[in-house]
Amino acid sequence: MKKNIRPDGKEKVTGRLKYLTDLAFPNMLYGKILRSPYPHARILSISTDKAKQLPGVQAVITHKDVPGLNGFGIVRPDQPVLCKDIVRYVGDAVAAVAADSIEIASRALELIDVQYEPLPVLDSPEKALEASAPLLHPDGNVLHRASFQKGDIEAEFSKCTTVVEETYHVPRQLHAYMETEGGVIVPEKGGGLTVYVGTQHGFKDRFQLSRILGVSEADIRIVSSPMGGSFGGKDELNIQPYGALLAIATGKPVKIHQTRQESMRSSIKRHPMMITMKTGVDRAGKLRAHQTTIVADTGAYATLGPAILDFAVEHTCGPYLIPAVKTNGVSIFTNNGVSGEFRGFGGNQITFALEGQIDRLAAAIGIDGIDMRRRNIRNEHDLGPLGQRIAETNGASDVLQSAAAVYAEKKRLLSNQDPWKRIGTGMAITMHGGGLGFGRLDPAGGRLSLKEDGEIEISFGFEEAGQGILGVIEAITTEQLGCAKEDISIVIGDTSLVPSSGSTTASRGTSMVWHSLQRLKKPFLQKLLARAAGIMGMKEEQLSIGPGGIWQNGECRLSFRELVSEQEPIIISTQFDFPVSPDPIDSAHFLYTYSGVVAQVEVDLLTGRINVGELHQSISAGPVVNEMGYLGQIEGGGVMAIGYTLMEDVIMADGHYVTENLDSYLIPGIKDVPFDLQMKAIESLPEEDHHGPRGVGEIGTVAVAPAIANAIWDAIGLRVSQLPVKPEAVLKSTKERGVLHGSQSSNSGAK
């Protein structure tokens, strides 16, 4: 494992690295977006006259000013850039303004007169499915259905000795990235546009923008952020269309940077879901039947809603072998905020429910949760959850074994001095697919070249948002080529300079960088060595690549610079697709990562508050590329998941945000983070595996909530079925069951 400082590390910690929203250009204007005050309404009229007359206002645009397709959306472009006749949520944009200052732009928004006729608000999936509900989209209020079935569910249930049924509710979570949506869109002299806005997929943004603006993709250049955070939240377009339209309308650079409140109102969130599971075991503690319904509130527009539901359906059985499975999922349009891509992608929701079932069943039949999992865990050669062949690893058993050891140790060391506190330990495991899945365009690629100055340039279409892809690229490239980090330059995040590598999503970056290098390195090194051999008058076999250049007999004999030839540039490119299962099962994944989580909580019996004292994650995702980057992903993911479990909930009432800013929507502070945050990377892969390191961008978030829920049960005997866990519910439960009165008794007496 390498403990390298990431390439952007020093600039970051010294504050020198600039956010794209800090950029400024001469004659730059400021943009603001007018969004609907109603969650559902008909637009009767829009008058921009007064706003246009305000001194300092340079442009006011509405739906009439969208030259191309007035819509966007990664899966289907059903979200209007600027609404014409109907608004479907309070983030819907109706007009936008460019002005000399933010203040003037804000004032201009107040002068835009929009007349609305409010329509009935569908603020829950239940309401949206009522027969009398108005249709939010031409095809109705069901965005997507997904299902999976295997075995005879009724027959298997009849063989069960114990069946547990529970409904789980999980909240709408905010990404809470450090930098809210924003950047500068600059009209170039030649007629093109440069878009300096953080994203996860520059080429997709370019495609969507070209469709909206009615210009060729070649006329748009996307430059993404070196930081600012995304977590899935900036994969979909956000402010780019407004900035682009305003820049074109005024011929000047336009900066838009949403306030936190504007961001809360318009950004996508994690899907709230209601998941009902009925799961049965036989006398031997073997899972036999597992029936699940998933109802997802996808909000007003599609974005990646269908894929997220598919993912949840796929991961319904997690790493367990169950003969009969029946899963039905539905994703429903409502007038709530738009739900979309978020680190974990439906896996976090379904894993909370599944692991909850496993723990309930274990308790019901009187065995411990680890034993229960051991009896049902998948093995290396078993098929994937949809019956597909997957890249074989022993990840599931490995993380279970690791977590079991950690669990036993934490239990052993438990001590509690405070009579008003209860300590509990819990665990959970999961498996998580990487890549977009079978049947989806999932191209990747990269380019390796020897530049004129002798630097080896490695280039990808991936974006750095702070997650650490630069560190991954540096580590893999230097390791695979054998050169030093000083020998290479990394180029990413600019569509005018880089090859298309697909999206920076779905834990695919690390994996695709490694796969690219596997393809690039041999032809690239061959060319370098052949040229060196020619120059030096030696045989290629005598030479090798090392730090600084070409090595022979343990010495660097020729620098990379000396290899440069203007006649014959050395450029090697590769294009390929993310590996998928040989079995053509729609949306099925092939590369999986695994985690086993152990959490220890302290429950305050006087206040109902829960403190996570320890969090340990065992991760199986192949070799570690960059130790600090890997650790950062797992620890950061763990903290994000603690927030999801204990406090984060974007509350909406009647289609309006109740939590409008970070003063009421809470994310964990440093004191909510366990003092003892630990990670164990299980790096082993089978010898025949040729897929290398897997990405770990998501896995650290997935199984934390059920581990904490399990620990709460261990502490006070409360079964959690709703996130976030409210102190109020804890207090009510302890009061009802007399836990507080029994406070002088021993810890185990609580149950």
Binding site: L606, M647, I651, N661, S664, G669, K671, D672, E728, L740
Partner: protein
Amino acid sequence: MQMQREQGVAFPPHLISLEQIRELTDIEETVDGSVRIGALTDLETCRTHPLVKEGCPALSEAIGTIASPAVRNKGTIGGNILYGVGDAVPALLAMNARLSWFCKNGIRSEWLLDYMSDQELPAEGAILTDISIPSLVEGHCFFRKVGRRETFIPSVVTVAMYVELTAQLSIQSIRLVAGGGVNTPRRLIECEKMLMGKQLTDELLRVLSSKLKEESALIGDAFTSADYRRTVAANLLVSELQSLR
């Protein structure tokens, strides 16, 4: 004020800085043994000052729960009091603090309790100059804040208590305070009366618990109910009294 501005409350058009008045940033012990704190003393200085840390540790603790270190370096003790629902207030109420105001006719002094009861300045244009905390060597002080997160968070419930027990463990003097969120911290006078001169029996504590819930009359919001707040306030005060037995 910054948070209120974010929530859409208009910022005053003019602000007058009093920062150069050095006399407003002193902490000293007066002849009668009480601690006098200048109203413009920043919270962090206040929290870490030996006179506060040793003489009124519950106040030091309460200040430590206010916002974040950066805010505590800038915000003042006077500002926290005039905010109305500041987290220092319950501790100061339990300690029976006095306030001094600079008015047209000179310095006026009043109990914090009286100020908190009507929340009005003693005179038009009065400026809070200092806070005095009487010597508390005889008794036991307690403060606890509960928020929706561990730190950098407005309170859901704050409680504070000052109690003196006799050698026979009956209550000789007591002040109980509850607040939190938009609830102005207030003394729970009826509960105090009920406890005076009594032994802390299980039965008394049980009765006290329900009486505390009732008298605190805390109201809820979209995130925490009134019942939760009242229950927590009662739990914290009762458990603290229980621990003194």
